[in-house]
């Protein structure tokens, strides 16, 4: 990756983070922690990986992205607005009655959203279904699904993992947003899910581990997945919940809390001044 591209991706991710905060601040409702933790991965996917076209959001040949951890909707809307699927001025209407930007992704209301999610676990199986349809129709689009690490506690995720492996879905990539936190605290303390790598490996997945905030590692990881044949891939992306806003980082209290005006301004200032 050349310096110029790296700089562009970092700037875009910073913009995503600012938009996330704007949405949640305007709504006084939403989920900053898990949205900020996946901002870099989403930025890379939408800028470099997904073959999609805002002029034709329902193109049957397009790549698909399923946000199974649907509570990070503000991150998805931010990047979709940057990719021109959505007008930027509607971000401030996030979660309001008249808005197409629902609290959790809604495929029938929001252009660019490939699957309605919000109930944890279900997006993973739905993404499998999309990948299976691709296999049936011999189409070569790819499917990416972003899963929370707490979400891995849902039995359905493992039913889905078994399915993806059984049907050799090499056109799907699971990405785990490994931020170590869920709502009630650390995943380790609430319901331990490790060792994640070994679990997926034993389910028949190719496993790749990356730093979720390092674009070089994201690039290497996501380039690799396309080369894997006859089995699904999981990218375990080690992240920091709340990444980019010092007082939100690694703090479970920012899972589902909106910043007040002072906190919002502080967060934006931090991103503008310090964040590279």
């Amino acid at each position: 990756m050349n310096q110029e591209k790296l700089k562009f991706l970092k700037e875009t991710a910073k913009d995503v983070r600012k938009k996330i905060l704007l949405e949640i601040y305007s709504a006084q409702s939403g989920h900053p922690g898990g949205s900020l933790s996946c901002a870099d991965v989403l930025t890379f996917l939408y800028m470099e990986v997904l073959n999609i076209d805002s002029q034709n959001p329902l193109d049957p040949f397009r790549d698909r992205f399923v946000l199974s951890k649907g509570h990070a909707s503000s991150a998805l809307y931010a990047i979709l607005s940057i990719k021109n699927f959505l007008p930027q001025h509607i971000l401030k209407d996030f979660r309001q009655c008249s808005s197409i930007l629902q609290g959790h992704p809604d495929m029938k209301r929001t252009p660019g959203v490939d699957m309605s999610t919000g109930s944890l676990g279900q997006g993973v199986s739905a993404a499998n279904g999309i990948a299976l349809a691709g296999k049936i129709d011999k189409m070569d689009f790819r499917v990416y699904v972003l899963i929370g690490d707490g979400e891995l506690q849902e039995g359905q995720v493992w039913e889905a993992a078994m399915f993806a492996s059984h049907y050799k879905l090499d056109n799907i990539t699971y990405i785990i947003d490994l931020n170590g936190l869920q709502i009630d605290g650390k995943t380790e303390e609430i319901m331990n899910i490790s060792p994640i790598e070994q679990k997926f490996a034993s389910f028949g997945f190719k496993t790749i581990e990356i730093d979720a905030h390092d674009f070089l590692e994201i690039e290497t990881g996501l380039n690799q997945v396309k080369l894997i044949k006859k089995k699904p891939t999981v990218v375990i992306a080690k992240s920091i919940k709340g990444k980019g806003v010092s007082f939100m980082e690694n703090n479970p209290n920012w899972h589902g809390t909106a910043p007040n005006s002072e906190q919002f301004e502080k967060a934006i200032r931090e991103l503008e001044e310090k964040y590279v």
Partner: protein
């Protein structure tokens, strides 16, 4: 009069009965929202977080109760009644075990989280399960009292709780029985039967109706199953018209339950106010109540239509759906 959510009544009920060593509390990564966190703090050895795995939580609760525990298990209504339906049916209700499912964040009053999280189906789902007792408290005090009572009655319970802070109807001297409807206000022209946070809306509507010369009885049905047939039949006979109000799909909820009884016992003019077989959307609770027509104004409007009185007082006739 300060507002409090029924889920707060749940947390406080657990604190008041928590010394009983038989009580075990389970949650699935929502302990702050459901308020089981207060029990966890005081009785950490009898609280278990099951992680985000509601189905597993419910069957685990069944096992615990088969070994003599009184188990309170919590999540959002959507994921308790929804995700774990079959575990509730087969692990808990079929063997008639002592599990109290306290499901918070029911109905559209969840607000901004939107349609994926607003459970307007849970009463309907739970009503179809034999052995299940369903409780839908209207305020903090009623929630606290009835949850405490449920701990000492054997068998499965589904207790429907809300996220939103709501006006208090009762106070600390609340002392009513499970299974018995409460006549809150008497009247002769119409009976308004409500449950959950809509009971307060019914009381407000009654005041407005009175100004227009309509006298409404208001009944609070906190126990949806087994439902108090007697009070429903008697009041319908006395008033000749019935309006039901709920923050739930009119299919399967309180309105259905009341219609089922009246159809057989006293067929009568009826109107069911509630979610008209729709999904919710994101928004502020009061705005959603307006959009979905679940508030005092809507009760007044539909009561008047029902009674065919002053149809043009509010709107032109053709505006009515």
């Amino acid at each position: 009069m300060s507002k409090r959510a029924t889920r707060e009544g749940y947390g406080d009920a657990l604190l008041e009965i928590g010394d009983d060593k038989k009580i075990v509390v389970l949650d699935s990564d929502l302990s702050n929202s459901t308020r089981t966190c207060v029990f966890k703090k005081k009785y950490p050895l009898r609280f278990f977080n099951c992680g985000i795995a509601e189905g597993n939580m419910i069957s685990t609760a069944a096992g615990l109760s088969s070994a003599g525990k009184v188990v309170f298990a919590s999540s959002f209504a959507m994921f308790a009644a929804g995700r774990a339906f079959e575990q509730i049916r087969n692990s808990v209700a079929h063997p008639n075990l002592n599990v109290k499912i306290c499901a918070s964040h029911a109905g559209i009053s969840v607000g901004e989280d939107g349609g994926s999280h607003q459970c307007n189906e849970d009463i309907g789902i739970m009503r179809t399960i034999p052995n299940m007792t369903i409780v839908s408290p209207s305020d903090y005090y009623e929630a606290k009292f009835l949850i405490k009572s449920s701990a000492y009655i054997d068998g499965p319970f589904y207790i429907r709780l809300g996220r939103l802070a709501v006006d208090n109807i009762f106070n600390d001297s609340y002392n009513f029985n499970l299974g018995k409807g409460i006549l809150l206000e008497d009247g002769k022209d119409v009976t308004i039967i409500a449950t959950g946070l809509t009971v307060f809306f019914a009381l407000e509507a009654r005041k407005i109706l009175r100004q227009d010369g309509i006298s409404a009885k208001v009944i609070n049905i906190h126990t949806i199953k087994p439902i108090d047939k007697e009070i429903i039949i008697k009041s319908s006979e006395e008033t000749g018209a019935v309006v039901t109000v709920e923050e739930h799909n009119i299919i399967g909820g309180l309105g259905s339950a009341v219609s089922e009884i009246l159809c057989e016992e006293n067929p009568i003019l009826m109107k069911r106010i509630g979610i008209q077989d729709l999904f919710g959307i994101s928004g502020k609770p009061t705005e959603l109540f307006k959009i979905y027509e679940i508030n005092a104004d809507s009760i007044v409007k539909y009561t008047k239509i029902l009674l065919k009185i002053n149809l043009n007082v509010f709107n032109k006739l053709e505006d009515f759906p």
